[in-house]
Point group: C2
Chain length 366, copies 2
């Protein structure tokens, strides 16, 4: 069956409903969760705009080292001047009841420190991926949030995104038969001035930044934890961009059930993020899979009754919808005392995998 | 620039001309090279039809264990009854001047024996891929053909195919900048009755049969020999098809220049053969890349003058054109005493790579 856009919306809605219980109940929220955004870079802009569309979340504070930038954004989003903090006085937001939670959007190596400081200040933490730059940091972040009795969620957008969820649902419903192999890639040609090229800030190269999408996808597509990794890396020794982080990295994974996966990531080439899943009864592809918009699902497989399913379906949703969903979910977890779908433990598992991949490739990790 | 079909034909023709000197001169051939086809399975049918369209090649003999089948095919292709041989009396074709060369289209494990017997009978050998089932056999085949002063070519179709050649030309012309990474896959859900599931005939599983296309592609796309391999395999222990050969295999490769490649192959899932090449200035994809027809090239890159190249170009050629080109080339090499573009040494290198991949995956090889 070749399905229409309307049917796709139904399929996606079913996938979202199946994965994200309860359904988004923005209009029923008793109150809106107030967020302090820590770090005002590019991704924070997406989150700020995403929260504007949320029914249970609002921006109530900003934390930045750039007072002028913070003042401009505060004016734009209706944040009182008194709720603009810097990295030195941030801990005093403990006493500010307008702040329920923080969104940590700093360079990777600062995630642990600011998550732990926020937890100690009694705030729930939504932390960008990668969770941090080492397994030890991830464990410390989880422990700190547990000790402070606050929730910790890692901002894995794709766990809340209908096209990715539709792919997972097709797999779980057996439409592909036994999954055999997965391929995924994500990379981009990184500008020379980016902080992500500095290991003290980034903790690593493209694996930490974009390869983690491929890694995480192989885990949510299979629903399994990897049993083994093998990886290669290469960096152009004459390219000044790659003095501290890797340029290219590829790896293979074996999952306990026998599913094999191969992934590639790069800061030296543009690779639209995508994955293909090959099963005994059919295949599916999401390409692109990890961008803020423009996702698209193709599939050729069979439903439980043996009916042929052929999909070629772009997802019309626009940025910043992913961020709205993420905020909706975390706020719902706070309001109704639920465990987030992507808790700190989900981030920890990726950090453990990244440690194994770097170890296999011979790359030192923080 | 978005180019037209006519322009694509020009691009492809340039690629073919650059790779295959001299150009096909079928009409100038002083005489036609006579082929004995050894083994009358599915691929032999493509070759028989391909040679019909060749200007410098003709079918003059058949070797088969099925006299009725051979008689029918002989009648269809105008082969005299006297030129039908079986596997016992084949060596007597030494004295048949109508036979210049053989096309070995038997199961893999027989390639070495029939190549060596044909060489000893003074016939040039065009042998299907995989060349054989071990490095030692490949070396013995090369030595036997050298000792008999006959030419040996391995039937790597893609080295003579315009879409693959156009991809290689774009890379060599620098349109992608520095190639960083390659992805490729090829597999199919293998029928339970196929000889390729029996290791004594096939020598191995999908790597020997279809994965070899991905392996060979990574070599001709880079123009380099792999420096290292790492591989995983898994076979469903409850599937009777996979008692002697592997079901799934994936591997990563590192090339001396630093290019990384990841490949997948399977007898448990349909995977259209394809490759993607990611460079510092752009990318290209051929999908499908290894089929007998229906190949298609997409690219987004830059020519030497900095002009943007965008290609989305299906190749309209139909089966059995690949086989015609292959025969054209080998016959031309015989007529003009040239070295084939894909000599025994090309097959040997793949066998050496396959040995390394199987070694890494823990699979025993013949």
């Amino acid at each position: 069956m070749r399905i229409s856009r309307r049917q796709f919306s139904q399929l996606s809605a079913m996938a979202v409903a199946a994965e994200l219980a309860p359904p988004m109940t923005a209009q029923l929220a008793s109150r809106k969760i107030g967020y302090a955004v820590i770090g005002l870079g590019r991704i924070a802009d997406h989150f700020l705009r995403g929260v504007q569309a949320s029914g249970n979340s609002k921006i109530t504070a900003l934390v930045s080292g750039h007072p002028d930038k913070a003042a401009g954004i505060a004016a734009q989003y209706g944040v009182p001047k008194a709720n603009i903090y810097n990295y030195e006085n941030m801990d005093s937001f403990r006493d500010n009841p307008a702040i329920d939670a923080v969104y940590v959007a700093l360079p990777n190596s600062m995630h642990a420190e600011y998550t732990i400081r926020s937890a100690k200040a009694g705030k729930h933490v939504l932390c960008e991926k990668p969770m941090c730059v080492s397994v030890l940091e991830a464990e410390a972040m989880i422990a700190a949030c547990k000790a402070a009795n606050v929730k910790l969620m890692i901002a894995y957008r794709c766990h809340f995104e209908p096209t990715n969820l539709a792919a997972v649902k097709l797999i779980r419903d057996g439409a592909l038969g036994q999954v055999q192999q997965i391929q995924s890639a994500f990379g981009f040609n990184c500008g020379a001035q980016e902080w992500r090229l500095q290991k003290p800030l980034a903790g690593g190269g493209p694996l930490m930044d974009v390869g983690i999408y491929c890694l995480n996808a192989t885990r949510y597509l299979t629903g399994e934890e990897p049993a083994a990794f093998s990886a290669y890396t290469h960096s152009n020794p004459n390219d000044p961009r790659f003095q501290t982080v890797e340029e290219n990295l590829n790896w293979i994974t074996r999952f306990p059930s026998g599913i094999l996966a191969t992934c590639e990531t790069s800061y030296g080439a543009n690779m639209d993020g995508y994955f293909r899943v090959y099963g005994s009864k059919g295949w599916l592809e999401v390409d692109t899979a990890f961008a803020y918009e423009g996702l698209s699902l193709k599939a050729d497989c069979y439903d439980a009754s043996g009916k042929h399913i052929q999909l070629d379906q772009p997802n019309p949703e626009k940025d910043p919808i992913h961020f709205t969903r993420e905020a909706d979910h975390f706020s719902d977890c706070i309001l109704n005392n639920r465990t987030p779908k992507t808790p700190g433990e989900e981030g920890l598992r990726d950090m453990q995998c990244i440690r194994e991949i770097y170890r296999s490739a011979g790359i030192a990790m923080a």
